[in-house]
């Protein structure tokens, strides 16, 4: 675990601000709701951000700008070119760098008066309690169910607030878990969805501004918790629909029988969250359908030879518009009712973006009696890498 600190560790509470800090935070200081007392609370606060991605970007920027004295950043990832559409902490020159390091540089330049601690590691059951113990508030900006349950359970075990935000396409959910009187994530969702029922990559994607809005709300809730001001989202689930531009609020109740925060707790330590969520190992299970495959180079050679192949593209129409292999488009979801459009006597090569959905299509068609059908290994991404780099990757 790489740990770096930018400023000397502070142990005793800070009781005054420098003249430069007073100038920097003057728009806070002149508000009675913050004032010198509140600004010192911010300076003495220690907040750990889990994830420095889409939600972590506005969180890190606003909490650093607001003068939260110690910010911890946990992320194991590196900046990818596709992150820049929404992860506004990073610039084009950061691509390839570790996210924690790129974020530390950006936030440190925004506010050199704060301490930034980076943890370039994957949060798991073996390190979560140790990482969390030195912080007052944990902010969950992760992107997967196992880590969500892990963050929740670790916060409950340590008695720390968990400022929760999650997004999907153009919808967001925000609340505060882990307060003594409030519910926890398991009260809201006792069980994770089985992997097969999470929305597929065909429905993935996100409007870049959405994590900006949801992460900003998390930052606001974090600051209110530090200041002890206002009504926070404990016991309330805020739903945001960006497309309809609607905010709604639902009541969240503490489940008296919750295995984590109920009076008869049955979970007393962190568990294996990948197993709990039905996802084994570091990576999610690779497709194990065992369908017959063809590599992009083999396909290219056969097409060049003039073989009669029917190219079946099982992606969505909007993906076809991004790039295509001039295949015949039947989205995976429509395949069962459009199977009659296919000629089982012809040789079919199915493809999608990465090869996962088309493997499902091949498996389905084989069960439907198709024998001459192959899956394009690695999908259109591999085609771009191995055959035709002019085909854009997405």
């Amino acid at each position: 675990m790489a740990t770096t600190t930018q400023a000397p560790a502070e142990t005793k509470p800070v009781t005054s601000l420098s003249n430069q800090e007073i100038l920097r935070y003057s728009r806070h200081l002149i508000m009675p709701e913050v004032g010198m007392e509140g600004q010192l609370k911010l300076k003495n606060a220690k907040v750990l951000l889990i994830g420095t991605g889409g939600l972590g970007a506005p969180l890190g920027l606003y909490l650093a700008a607001a003068g939260v004295g110690k910010l911890g950043l946990v992320d194991f990832d590196v900046v990818d070119f596709t992150n820049l559409q929404r992860q506004v902490t990073f610039g084009s020159s950061d691509v390839g760098k570790h996210k924690t390091e790129a974020a530390r540089a950006r936030l440190g330049s925004l506010n050199p008066d704060i301490q930034i601690e980076t943890f370039e590691t994957k949060l798991d059951s073996s390190n979560a309690l140790e990482l969390f113990k030195d912080f007052d508030i944990i902010v969950d900006g992760t992107d997967n169910f196992p880590t969500r349950y892990l963050v929740n359970d670790a916060c409950i075990l340590l008695g720390k607030p968990n400022v929760y935000g999650s997004i999907f396409r153009f919808e967001g959910q925000v609340t505060v878990f882990g307060m003594p009187e409030g519910p926890c994530y398991r009260c809201l969702y006792p069980e994770p969805p089985p992997p097969g029922l999470v929305p597929s990559c065909a429905e993935g994607g996100v409007l870049g501004v959405l994590p900006g809005i949801v992460g900003s709300i998390q930052a606001m809730e974090t600051i209110k918790l530090i200041l002890g001001r206002g009504d926070n989202l404990v016991g309330r689930l805020l739903l945001f629909d960006a497309l309809g531009m609607k905010f709604r609020e639902l009541k969240l109740r503490k489940n008296p029988n919750c295995p984590m925060c109920g009076s008869n707790r049955t979970i007393h330590q962190l568990i294996d969250y990948y197993e709990f969520c039905g996802v084994r190992g570091e990576e999610a299970p690779a497709p194990e359908l065992g369908v017959p495959e063809i590599t992009p180079r083999e396909l290219k050679a056969r097409l060049d030879r003039g073989d009669d192949l029917f190219i079946l593209d099982v992606r969505e129409p909007h993906e076809y518009q991004i790039c295509n292999l001039q295949g015949n488009l039947i989205p995976l979801g429509e395949l069962p009712r459009r199977v009659h459009e296919l000629d089982s006597s012809r040789e079919i090569v199915a493809h999608c973006r990465s090869g996962k959905r088309s493997a499902e299509a091949v498996d389905f068609l084989r069960k439907a009696g198709f024998r001459k059908i192959l899956n394009l290994k690695g999908g259109i991404l591999a085609w771009s890498d191995e055959v035709d780099p002019s085909v854009p990757k997405y």
Partner: protein, 102 residues
């Protein structure tokens, strides 16, 4: 008695891309039953094979979780809103999840 059911983004694919539906129903269970009759694909996403609501899908009548009312037997009245709220996990986002999950 028309009741409005708000369909969340992840489930719209299975509900004819609709964001809400008006159904006539006397209880929350009736309303969801009517909805899944109209959109059969939605059924396995909301209910287990035994016909129980799935644990990762929460259903609210107006702003109250039906688990704390009379569950699926909770009576509905004209103008009520039922919200289906599934768990979503994206943060740094679905595209990144895709790399892991798909």
């Amino acid at each position: 008695m028309p009741v409005k059911v708000i369909i969340p983004t992840p489930l719209r694919t299975y509900a004819g891309k609709r964001d809400s539906a008006e159904v006539h129903a006397a209880t929350v269970g009736d309303a969801l039953g009517g909805l899944t009759t109209e959109f059969a694909d939605l059924r396995r996403h909301l209910f287990t094979d035994e016909g129980k609501l799935r644990a990762f899908v929460n259903v609210y009548l107006n702003d109250e979780d039906i688990r704390y009312l009379a569950k699926e037997n909770t009576p509905t009245k004209d103008g009520d809103t039922i919200s289906i709220v599934p768990s979503i996990a994206g943060g740094s986002l679905a595209v990144d999840v895709e790399k892991e999950m798909f």
